[in-house]
Symmetry: none
Subunit: 208 residues, 4 copies
DNA sequence: GATGAATGAGCGTTCATTCAT
DNA sequence: GATGAATGAACGCTCATTCAT
């Protein structure tokens, strides 16, 4: 993300912040955002409560830093995956696969995020924008663009606007990520995608 | 639910509890679960904070009673709506329509519930079970039964188990209820259902 | 001060507030404003920390209530005393005597106030005005008026403006009150006044 | 005070301490004693917070060192000024003039000192003694001696003990210094002294 | 049953001070 | 000697809950 930090001091600062973030994330996961106290986080992290305030200006700020970190990564992964094909519908499929993989690899994170944020779709978008995230909006724009192209190519139905289709995708994907995050043991992601993609493309009536 | 309360005392107790619930709900809606204090709820209700503790054992309990009441109503409405047809697929469609209507008519409730509860699908189910709700499970059972019948009649694809289809429905429906709750002004429910039902049945590829 | 409180509840509330004020004052006296903590005040008062926040909105507010109470009383006593004569110079003398008496009878209060407030004269006036006190300003106005009358009657020197004379009085009186507050055992107030009045009227050169 | 520091090391130490004191003073003046934090002082000084603890054992100690420095200077100036005449009353007048000048030239310092210390007269004396200051006591002794001489020469009234007269002077002078410190723009010191000296010598009744 | 004043544990946050480097 | 990241005790304040009336 920041490949050349200005100098040694800044690099150390950033590294410590990351370490604290890792530890805080774990603690928040254990108890949930509202329930966990700064003293608990500190004591589980093995440092003093004051220490966090050298790196994050409040409990809320600490939490947002955790969210930010993952969201940025998620959007980067997804975007990279979508570049794996030129076919717009296949781009969408690859993006979803990336999201599922990410969800599976970051189960704990989602477990917290899902309980701490008003994480329903609409609310989440608003929240992310408030937190200065533009990635999600960009992501949506790109996704809608692909859907439109797919419509032009006759790969996707044209009687529903691309924006509505995107919303539908958002909803379904997000819910399945949640499922991956909450279910233990981890299900087979490829298999899961096969089913979800089947439902997304064919609905519950039309089938293979 | 309890058509014959044991005696006058119990009947009075239940009536008062309902009145308190009405008032508390309004107050919680106004400020949100975490933000509102018991003194605020009491003062808006026009009674003393202590009074609530004669009817509910904690703030959390009070909140859950509010959720319960609506959930029960929601399940009753949905079930009643599904009886409007003998065709299993049409039963599902009518059920969804009922859910949408309910969501639209109880926007405020959902706005609170969605921010106060870990309301994602899986989490919600767990929560509802913890809270002693069996309705949702029963609902699912009934819904799965209809889906299976629809599969047998060739109305619904057979390559995906009815349980998975139900989960898919759950996810999509819940998300659209959220959308109805969060969006202002209230969208046209019939039109919304047409789109969602189109996506549910036909997916994003096959069209009408 | 408030001879007919609206009703029983308000009367009880006011009485409790006064009792808490008494206790808090004692505790603040013991440790000083900055040093004393709300828990200390509470524990010395024999109540819980939260209780104070039912009557005063912050530590600062509690402190100001203590100051206000005494300042109001002080100004009332002084004013009443000044009515004891028609001669403007004698009015001034009687006012000073009242201040001294008050200072002597409220030693503890002054000991706190003098350490907690930026109690130097100028700063004090500003502070009192910020706190919504107009009494001191009114007092000054009345005092200056008397000095002007005394000047007209040839009782007081005319080469210095009445405002400057008043400032001089303020300074000297306040310092002597401090002396009375800080010295133990309590000196003879009448004797003290005799000396101070001698200095005020005659300076260090002219004598009786 | 310490004209021959034992050795180079001590001399360096003392020099550094002075430099830190200069910087800390500026920072304290900027924010006030209670408000300013050690990190602020350090960052404005351009050194690390820890550094101060090599020279001063606490924040309080640092503050007292600042006070001490000024007090010592004040007493030296005053004493020097008093040597400007052989007439004991004129000595007093010259001393007061020196105090006023000093107050005027060190407005910022007094502004801090007056809000940070329990600066009323008595309290200040006690404080200064606690801090190891003997200068003020010496000053008083010298001042009282002059007053006594003036009494013997018939220059000053004899019905009031020299100690009481000195206290009176202290009070009046201190208050006028405060006035000089708090008022902006700086008043004419000579004119101020004329008025104060008039009041000190002649009181409010006898005049020029 | 209803009250509401009182409770007090526990919160997020600050900042003078320390000590390993 | 100088550093500054880390400390952690202590702060003012909140609010779900209780219980004497």
């Amino acid at each position: 993300m920041d490949p050349q930090p200005a100098n040694l001091r800044d690099r150390l600062h950033a590294a410590t912040a990351q370490a604290l973030l890792d530890a805080a994330e774990k603690a928040m996961l254990k108890y949930g955002y509202d329930k966990v106290t700064m003293q608990q986080i500190a004591s589980e992290t093995g440092c003093a409560p004051g220490t966090f305030y050298l790196y994050f200006k409040s409990k809320q700020d600490l939490f947002e830093a955790i969210i930010n970190r993952h969201m940025t990564t998620l959007f980067e992964c997804t975007r990279a995956a979508m570049d794996g094909s030129d076919n717009p519908l296949e781009k969408i499929r690859l993006g979803i696969l990336a999201c599922f993989r990410f969800g599976q690899e970051n189960k704990l994170f989602f477990q917290v995020a899902l309980t701490a944020l008003p994480m329903r779709n609409r609310a989440l978008r608003v929240k992310l924008l408030e937190m200065g995230h533009t990635e999600h909006a960009e992501m949506s724009r790109y996704s809608i663009e692909q859907l439109r192209k797919a419509q032009e190519l006759g790969l996707v139905r044209k009687d529903i606007p691309a924006e509505t289709l995107d919303e539908f995708l958002d909803v379904v994907i997000f819910s399945f990520i949640e499922q991956l995050a909450m279910v233990d043991p981890v299900p087979d992601v490829q298999e899961k995608l096969r089913v979800v993609w089947g439902l997304i493309t064919g609905g519950i009536v039309g089938g293979a």
